[in-house]
Point group: C2
Chain length 315, copies 2
């Protein structure tokens, strides 16, 4: 963008956050942007190492994501899944034929001794991406969801049970010992850092794992760069995923301002959708009310520009 020459870190989950990440790649050069994805919903399934958020962002950055279905790859087919079902195999986690290649190859690279960052870099290169996408950590962190039906692995809760069981809390197994990505810590300490953007992702299961990594929250607060979040809740509903349902079950109002309150003093600025303009007065954090729905590349680009412009005025 004209005049924006600092560095930007974007923290993101999967599909929702990926849209803003894609917008940021339109307006920032590769050396200006570091996209950090949640890996706490990674899991091992059918012997494959699956990183749903990394993949959602990677596919979105490569413009290979399926925008109608809302997840996975465009032009996907499902022959393997249909055959797996016919064989009596586990078919609750839908793996497209093309998507399978990503998991097969990531798994092979990890078995060969590559780190998850390294593997992500190789996959992103193969997809022709120039901007940097990294996992929040190379160490395994796994979200466990406390529900009325007991503790469930995140994908079991999210996909197999379709977010149906009532949620009472989350636990990120491995978070105490996982090292945050070295590059993330380097960027957080870089005096050229101009903004830290929290993408419109689920605050509890997409963003919180990143924030809870040793030293990340403290480094964000220590950085002079403003932390700006974009609300994943628009008009009391999650644009995508179970965020609103979770908020209700956690006895929080399912509203854009409640997300800002949940992030608390970490935020220096907050972006809400215009449908929530009546909530602006209730927020103590500086906020900006603009259209946040990103249905086209132009709208992704526009939101990215608006967020960066807003963050510049918070300095």
């Amino acid at each position: 963008m004209a005049g924006f020459d600092g560095k930007v870190i974007a923290l993101t989950g999967g599909v929702g956050g990926a849209k803003l990440a894609r917008g940021l790649t339109e307006v920032l050069s590769p050396d200006q942007l570091l996209i950090v994805a949640n890996t706490a919903d990674d899991f091992e399934h059918l012997g494959l190492s699956i990183s749903p958020d990394l993949d959602s962002v990677m596919y979105a950055l490569a413009d290979q994501n399926d925008t109608e279905r809302g997840w996975g790859l465009a032009g996907e087919s499902w022959q393997a899944m249909e055959s797996l079902k016919a064989l009596g195999g586990d078919d609750w986690f839908r793996l497209g034929d093309k998507d399978l290649a990503t998991h097969l190859w990531r798994s092979q690279l990890l078995r060969d001794g590559h780190s998850l960052s390294d593997t992500t870099r190789l996959l992103c290169q193969a997809l022709g991406l120039h901007h940097r996408l990294i996992p929040m950590s190379d160490d395994p962190v796994r979200t466990l969801v406390a529900t009325e039906r007991g503790e469930l692995g995140f994908q079991h809760y999210f996909v197999r049970e379709q977010c149906e069981p009532k949620v009472s809390g989350f636990r990120f197994a491995g978070i105490e010992t996982a090292s945050p990505a070295a590059e993330l810590m380097d960027w957080l300490a870089d005096d050229r850092l101009a903004a830290i953007v929290i993408c419109p992702s689920n605050p509890f299961v997409s963003v919180d794992p990143i924030l809870q990594l040793q030293g990340v929250r403290a480094a964000m607060q220590a950085s002079p760069a403003p932390v700006v979040a974009v609300s994943p809740i628009v008009g009391g509903m999650a644009v995508k995923g179970p965020a609103a349902k979770m908020m209700e079950e956690l006895s929080m109002p399912a509203s854009a301002d409640a997300v800002a309150q949940w992030y608390g003093d970490l935020l220096n600025g907050y972006v809400m959708d215009i449908v929530d303009r009546n909530l602006a007065s209730s927020l103590s954090v500086p906020n900006k009310v603009i259209p946040t729905l990103m249905s086209s590349l132009a709208s992704k680009r526009k939101l990215a520009l608006d967020v960066l412009d807003f963050s510049r005025h918070l300095n």
Copy 2:
């Protein structure tokens, strides 16, 4: 078949042998037939446990094999392979999207602690098969091919190098300690056993691993049931695969009678194709010269009937 009420064991490799195995299932009841497949060309690839011969037979018995391509599943698609190639992944071993499901599910069952026999039984059940197909052993045996380019794993020789390097011999790693399938040994000792059929498969890399399992050859020789092989060489050429090329490289004539000589005193009868009728007089083993090419289900059934009829007269 009318009047054939004994039991039959069929020893087979992949595609070629599978045709006769399919014919045998047409003329024998499930409790009369035990099909034993070579597993020495099994391998681990991209984290998947792949059993090419078991799969070729399984797909053929289920009438799901691709008869035009000559291997794999009918109606197959290649989206995963194309994506894998685009990612820079190993694509030398062509895994169809539907076929991938077999490997994913077999691998999962093995990881869950099922034996290969158990896994094969579950897969065959899922495909609706009634006849019994078992792996020659639950223990890993791996064919290593001695070539002018050094020793190669079988699939690396067969698929990656397309049988190009000149062969000087074979080694079956693990053969000394692998236990032959208990069911095979039971059937070999069963006094209702009426014939042991060696299907038209590669004698060196498909049949020999089965014969070299501890006790198998001795039990075949001890059984009063005749051992009948069907030549995989027709008119000096292998119907499928590298058998003829291997024979030349091993300084054997690439001919049907040379295969019989190679099996030696194990055989009580030998079936050759009519194009090789001039070789009949050179054989000391009782032989039958009939059409052996199996392009239709009717011709598979006919050859099965002819082989069983021939074996009956060898008693």
